[in-house]
Symmetry: C2
Subunit: 431 residues, 2 copies
Amino acid sequence: MSHAPLRLAIAGIGTVGAGVVSIVQHHAAMLRQRTGRDIIITAVSARDRTRDRGVSLDAYAWCDDAIALAQRTDVDVVVELMGGAEGAARQLVTQSLQAGKHVVTANKALIAHHGAELSEIAEASNVMLAFEAAVAGGIPIIKLIKEGLSANRYERIIGILNGTCNYILSVMERTGRDFADVLAEAQALGYAEADPSFDIDGVDASHKLCILSALAFSTVPNLQGMHCEGIRNIGADDILAAHELGYRIRLLAVTVQRPEGIELRVHPALMPQENKIAQVTDVYNAVHLFTSHAADMFIEGRGAGRDATASAVMADVIDIARGHTMLPFMVSAQTLARAQLVPLDAFDSAYYVRLRVRDTAGVLAELTRCFADHDISVASFIQHATHPNQEATIILTTHITTEAKVRAALVDIKALSSVVAPPCMIRIEEE
Amino acid sequence: MSHAPLRLAIAGIGTVGAGVVSIVQHHAAMLRQRTGRDIIITAVSARDRTRDRGVSLDAYAWCDDAIALAQRTDVDVVVELMGGAEGAARQLVTQSLQAGKHVVTANKALIAHHGAELSEIAEASNVMLAFEAAVAGGIPIIKLIKEGLSANRYERIIGILNGTCNYILSVMERTGRDFADVLAEAQALGYAEADPSFDIDGVDASHKLCILSALAFSTVPNLQGMHCEGIRNIGADDILAAHELGYRIRLLAVTVQRPEGIELRVHPALMPQENKIAQVTDVYNAVHLFTSHAADMFIEGRGAGRDATASAVMADVIDIARGHTMLPFMVSAQTLARAQLVPLDAFDSAYYVRLRVRDTAGVLAELTRCFADHDISVASFIQHATHPNQEATIILTTHITTEAKVRAALVDIKALSSVVAPPCMIRIEEE
């Protein structure tokens, strides 16, 4: 192991970048004590040189062109915090690895889209490509999969991987307020972006799940064929009905190794209130990991935020300072299998269905007929009292059936003249 | 990194040892894929050669004397699973490290008593001393402290580190049964030893806490001065009263870095029912870790058992196979500080007190007088209806005060003629 200083270049000095600079500047002695060497920053790159970031960058070489960092001779590790699956971030990471520099990145889109290819370059150059910060900043879940539980076969991962969605669902639950209202508040508080689609439509969670699934099952990260569904359609009615039924609604990221292939899906689900994942609130993230030997392990912590993400970036840097490099996906990228995904139609689950109907004679008979026609057995049924001939909300849950059958039944139901709005269907995840 | 096979010797083939052998035998291809080399067993040692352990040891050299493993030339890593802080285990580990062999151990007593000294030997020989399996088998908490959150200063650890106690308290809570009764059942089920003292008096948890505290705060592991109190005095009454007050009782292992020194204590405590630690049930272990940058991280999993502990042992072996060795206590053992412990008298807490009194006129006035005399403010008070002049159980909680004051008040209370049994005092941990 080298005792020379480990020299970092940081590309992208936004919130997280400033957090990384702050740790390097304020905890130099601790880092030296824990790694046996100095960790220093030699060069930085960002869009706006004049912006006040709360940390001084004066001591570092400034590069207007981030990609130039890849060629600097005074850099051992490039820390990529620019984001984006293509463009400058991809070029910088590729060229840095090719130039024999270690790369630490928080870029989940980049790893989800190009993880295998970048891993091959890292392996060829015998350097590290580390991305702990790409998934659930305050939870070292990537290290747990690659190292802490490395003697296990992985069976199933259930995660809450998007803090924004979890915050919105938690507030809806606590206050009874509706989605749009809570989203607007989250945007005002800075918990959700002005364009919230990346978070609330499940895209962010799907990138993270894609990475975890690839690591756990030694497959090429691949977003294609993953089921990805967000929380836009969850209403205050659903939260309330779920509560009456003993459930909470969470945006789940689930991957399961089955004999017939891998399940890979991001969607809202009802989970029993006493389930650990269901009890995760606000901006926290969590992962419940089921393995062959350590059985189940549950971990919860901050998913994002300047310091938690900077902590993850620096943990990767410290590993490199200690000489702990390894294959980015635990096994050689060339041996990663193409994941055979289980089609969602074959997915077995119980389902929650919310229907808006004109409350006329015979409507219940029609509805239950549609389910029976598709061999679906109804488990519970809630209809709050309404005045006759007005609209009513009907909520029902099914016993375990397949996604294909439920979808077919809902097509029939939607066609009924008494049904006045598109049905809302949410999967029930019992554990 | 070497590509030669990594050769293990295993000392002690009990339940965990057989689990380790099983992983090596049944997951050879997975281990090779994940480390780039073969992991093989060359020699074993155990007390009884004839015992059926469910795994074949025929292919391995058998050593009647475990300590001889330290000198074998066909061994890279000695896996010590004999247990005990002294004797053969200590000799084997010392001599193996001196002979330049890596050591992986599940021996918490050995590390708690001699961790710093053994770490110095490991450092001098430039080999690894790894002990993930010594604390909470299914939870890679040692790796999380040394690596996953290595960019953080650690502030506070609250753990449930003894599965036997947690099982007993969980069953008492669920069934209303008393301690002795549930302990006997736990013994029959194999969850508690014939001599249960090591578990139920908090000794096991104190060894584990000692190790975590040393790692987190870079201090010499030291059991002296630690407060260690078990669960023998917790009655069904206490569990019930705690429930009425909104709490659950757990055996906590707590260490906190304070300006005036380190808190280090194992004792039962009332925790709010909604607290994550309070919700840990049965044989599960958990750790809630509070840090400077990642904020708080909670992790829960199997604390013991053949496979979970073997998983932890093998994770250490895999690290060594990957060439990931580091200072056993994260910093050089010579720089570990002597922990300055905060004396328990200075400890601030709210308290729960159970008293058995003769229910006569004036008894309440006497009791409350004793608290007032020591400047303790009573927060709540429960006395279930009894017939006059009979014995009654009184349960009260205090506002935050110091341990010294509560102890002084309890001395006075014990001396009252109306108090018929020694008072039972339990700390309240609000978060």
